[in-house]
Subunit: 212 residues, 2 copies
DNA sequence: GTCTATATGCCGATAGAC
DNA sequence: GTCTATCGGCATATAGAC
C-alpha cells in the first residue's frame, strides 16, 4: 500500500490528533503517539521523516474537515447571511461547553511555534485560516454585501478572538458577545452598502467529533 | 534580602521572560533559564519551588506593566474614546512589525496549557485579561457610552482576535481591520446609545521594551 | 544563598534484523 | 513495514558541601 495512505499511517495521524489536540504538541512525545497507535517508534519514523512532519500531517488532516464542519452549520439558502453567520458563533459557544474542547488547533499551533515562522505547522495553519476567510467572503458576497473582503477579515478576527477569550477564561459566553459584534458589523454594512435583499428561514446542524 | 525581591530572583525572572516569551514556555528548560541568569539550576530551585512557579512569576511580572503600556498609549482627556481606542489597535500593528514580536504572552500561555485549567499560569492570564477588559469598560463609561461592559468585551475579542490573526499570518495589517471594526462598533453605539459628547485632540506614545 | 554533582526518566532519532 | 535495542542529549528536580 502507498506510504501516504496506509492504514498504519492513518492510525498514527489519528493517535497524534487525539494527543496533540488534547495535551498540546510540545507536551506530547513521539513515544506516546506510537504507543497510542499500537506501533513502535521505529514504525512511526518509517511513515514520517520527523516529529515536525507528523505535526504538519496532523494539522493538514484537520484543515478541510474543520472548514467543512463550519460550512455544514449554515446550510446555504435557508436564511440571510447575517443569521447564518450568527449561528456559527452560537455553535462555537456550544462546542466550547464540551470539556474536551481546547480551542483552535491551528491557533494553538501558531502560538506554540511563534518563534518558528517557517515551520510546516505554521504554513498549514495560515493556509487554513486563509481558506476560512475566503469562505466568509464568498458567503457575504453571495448575499449581496459590499466590501465582503474587509468584512470577512473582521469576522475572522471576531471568531479567533472569541476562541482566545473562551480559552483564557473558560467562559463560552464570549462567543455570544462576538455574535453580537458580528451582527452589528453586518447590520451596519447591510444598511449602508448591501446591494440586494436576502432570503429567509432557519438552519440546523450538529457538532462533529472534532471540536476545533 | 527577602526571598521575594532578591536580586537573583529578579534576574531569574528577567531571564525567564526573555526565553519564555521568545521561544515558548515548554520549549525552554530550566537549565537555559539558570544559565541566562548567570546562576546554577540549584539556585533557581532555591528561589522557585518548581518550573510552574517560575512560569507564574514570569507572567505575574508582565501583568501590570503590559496593561500600563497600553494605558500610556492613550493619554486621558486628549481625544474621544473612539480615537483613543483606535490608537491602541494601530499601535498593536506597529509593535507587530518588530521581528521580536511574538503575540500576547498570556494568550500563548493559555494555548500552551489548554489542558491544565488550574495551572497557575492560567490564573494569571485570566486575571490579566479581566483587568484589561475592566479598563476598557472604564474608558468607555467615562466617555459616556452606554452598555460599556458589553462593548468592552467586544473590544477584548477584537484585540486578541487581531493578535491571533497577526500571529498566524505574520501580517500586522490585521490590526487595522480590527481598528475599523472597533470604530464601527463604537460609532454605532455612539449614535444610538451614547449619553454625552466628547472632547477632541490627538495622542502620543511609544512602544516599550515589552512587545506583548 | 550558591555551589558541584547526581538521580531518574523522557526527548527525538537511528542501527540492523527479519 | 514492523520489530528490538539503543544512541546521545536534555527534562525536572534533588543531595549535601560550604
Amino acid at each position: 500500500m502507498a506510504r501516504d495512505s496506509s492504514k498504519t499511517r492513518r492510525r498514527l495521524i489519528a493517535a497524534a490528533d487525539g494527543l496533540f489536540y488534547g495535551q498540546g504538541i510540545r507536551a506530547v512525545g513521539v513515544d506516546a503517539v506510537a504507543e497510542a497507535a499500537g506501533v513502535t517508534k521505529r514504525t512511526l519514523y518509517y511513515h514520517f521523516a520527523s516529529k515536525d512532519d507528523l505535526i504538519a500531517a496532523y494539522l493538514a488532516e484537520r484543515d478541510l474537515p474543520t472548514l467543512g464542519r463550519y460550512q455544514r452549520m449554515i446550510p446555504e439558502g435557508e436564511a440571510s447571511a447575517e443569521q447564518r453567520i450568527r449561528r456559527i458563533f452560537e455553535q462555537l459557544g456550544k462546542n466550547a461547553e464540551d470539556p474536551r474542547w481546547r480551542g483552535c488547533s491551528f491557533l494553538r499551533a501558531a502560538a506554540e511555534f511563534a518563534n518558528l515562522p517557517g515551520h510546516p505547522a505554521r504554513l498549514v495553519a495560515s493556509r487554513h485560516k486563509r481558506r476560512f476567510e475566503a469562505w466568509f467572503e464568498e458567503v457575504l458576497a453571495a448575499d449581496g454585501f459590499g466590501e465582503a473582503a474587509a468584512l470577512a477579515r473582521q469576522l475572522m478576527i471576531l471568531l479567533d478572538g472569541a476562541v482566545a477569550q473562551i480559552l483564557i477564561h473558560r467562559e463560552p459566553s464570549y462567543a455570544l458577545a462576538a455574535a453580537d459584534a458580528a451582527s452589528t458589523l453586518l447590520e451596519r454594512t447591510n444598511k449602508s452598502k448591501k446591494r440586494s435583499a436576502h432570503r429567509r428561514g432557519g438552519a440546523g446542524g450538529l457538532p462533529g467529533a472534532h471540536l476545533g
